[in-house]
Symmetry: C3
Subunit: 252 residues, 3 copies
């Protein structure tokens, strides 16, 4: 997938169009997510005041919704933003952090996923949890290999007519029929907080510029996996990996 004209075209569009990606995300990962979006050529914004959201999301090229460290305030902001995105035709992407492991989170994730989500990216525990199956996650890290969630991903994709990506050692991306595999990345990436969250935001950026959504998501994960693998090859610890990852995202 790395050398296809399609992938190169998505990358070129990212840099040429600098899509404005509106993020509703956790304070834990907001900085890393914004830097990852800037590195790939997108323009990030985190607008979460209730009176600012609806106006902003319709100007944005994509909305990225992340459920990490959810607060009642962010839950309300997300509900407003998703409604405005759907009404205004802004594509939106869901990262269901903690779904499956935290019951109220799972309920909320299911409720918003039903609102015309363009793509969902999660680890196996989250995708299984969202599909109503037992994931085995504790906290926000997955306890299960990504292949265990392929069927759940396919079923969710059909249910919501969206793209679903389950990431892990191998990433699987499906529209409910076709399943693409991306086998890049590096195990050390699980030692950096927000790697998955930033990947979801990059999915949103690619969805904004690549109209073929299955490809958009697969290209985003290819970009993430390439940058992660290249970064991991030249560093020897998680602190350095986060830094090198941003450098490599800008260089791919």
């Amino acid at each position: 997938m790395i050398d296809t004209p399609d992938f190169r075209s998505t990358l070129a569009s990212l840099r040429a169009q600098a899509p404005l990606v509106h993020n509703l995300t956790s304070a834990v990962v907001a900085n890393f997510t914004a830097n990852a979006l800037l590195a790939v050529g997108a323009s990030p914004a985190m607008v979460e005041a209730p009176d600012e959201i609806a106006g902003f999301v319709t100007v944005a090229d994509a909305l990225s919704v992340n459920l990490g460290s959810l607060t009642p305030q962010r839950r309300a902001a997300i509900a407003l933003a998703v409604t405005a995105a759907v009404q205004g035709g802004t594509p939106w992407v869901l990262d269901p952090v903690g779904a499956g492991g935290i019951a109220p989170r799972t309920e909320f994730a299911r409720a918003i996923a039903a609102q015309n989500v363009a793509a969902i990216r999660g680890n196996a525990s989250e995708i299984l949890g969202l599909a109503g199956l037992r994931g085995g996650g504790r906290g926000v890290d997955s306890g299960t290999g990504s292949d265990a969630a392929i069927d759940a991903a396919r079923s969710l994709a059909r249910q919501h007519r969206c793209i679903v990506a389950v990431t892990g050692v191998i990433d699987y991306v499906t529209d409910g029929e076709t399943v693409l595999e991306v086998a890049l990345g590096h195990a050390m990436m699980t030692r950096v907080t927000g790697m998955g969250c930033a990947a979801s935001a990059i999915v949103a950026a690619c969805v904004a510029v690549q109209p073929h959504r299955l490809l958009a998501v697969a290209h985003a994960l290819t970009l993430v996996g390439l940058a992660g693998a290249r970064a991991a090859a030249r560093v020897d610890g998680p602190g350095s990996l986060a830094v090198a990852y941003l450098d490599e995202l800008a260089r791919v």
Copy 2:
């Protein structure tokens, strides 16, 4: 400006006095801002509970107000802090993130700027927006060169009897009469989130130790530009730039 005794004196005061800078800022940039302040020798604090703010801001040497990712809670906290700062004589600095591009943000920025602000630092879109002119920004990044906002900066400075800095490839700093230029920095700095926000916090730190406010702001931007240029000269990506920038801030 780099080799003047004035600049060296501001730097020396920063390190000797370690001004306590109270920040009300976005979760996206809070960590980077605190680290930038520590690097230049200041002592950062982020106090935002309503019952803690007024007492704290009067102990602080300066208050830095940043409108990024504004929430209703932070808006209320900022209103309390600015009132207490003005009453207690603590100088305060405004970074009007998103002004011009987000209507409620612009209104709020204008309302608080009228309360004895010591200095305002923004990009061209934000300064134009604050002055009631059309900026052309989308999201929080500027769509316009900094020179397009010089007149707006001068007019705002006269209106609020404060210093206004519009930053970009060239930074312009004005008290409404004199316009100083700082042409340092590097384009790669726009690929790191919070660079402008951290610059505004450093402006607050310099205002705390340098009584000549036009110089204080120009010195802060000189420090920022020098560190950014030196960092950009020895790295090759935005992840490394953020790290090297903090190192260089501590070294200038």
Copy 3:
């Protein structure tokens, strides 16, 4: 302490058990804290929605409560979490950021410390403030050497039947009787925001896996001090130090 079988056993348990540490902390330090926990082998989570907290904290292996940049929302979340932790038998650790320097913060810190806290880690100003003595801090940085707070630490430890650590150039750890010293670390660590906060979270991780609590806290600070000293020995600025520190935490 570095080469003792006990220390190696705590480290091995951290990596083998990957304790789930629930953090309620400031947006300023949340990312660095999560990365520090991942680096030592723990699994961090930041769950702060009122309807999610009680269920989550009882699943977690430890709770880390940090009072930095406290908001009314986080104050309420902390109260819920501490009650649930005590009822469910999850050990919890307090980092009383700003105690002593900010009156409402001091009151809140004292009130929750009385609820069966397992360990408290703070700088001298904070430990003195918590003990009702004058600390001399301004903002969140200590104005006093750690040895000035040894008696206060011992008294707090006896009062709450917990472990108290006062950190600085030398760290002191006490159960109210024995006082252990850890003299590692490096002065440059004070130029990186969140170093103390991350240390407190690592204390929580060690308390989760090492039943001897005095040793658990001392081992956590040994780990922090070793990583800090090794990182400081090979970098020349605070930006690089934060990165190298995470690498070294993963390597100890």
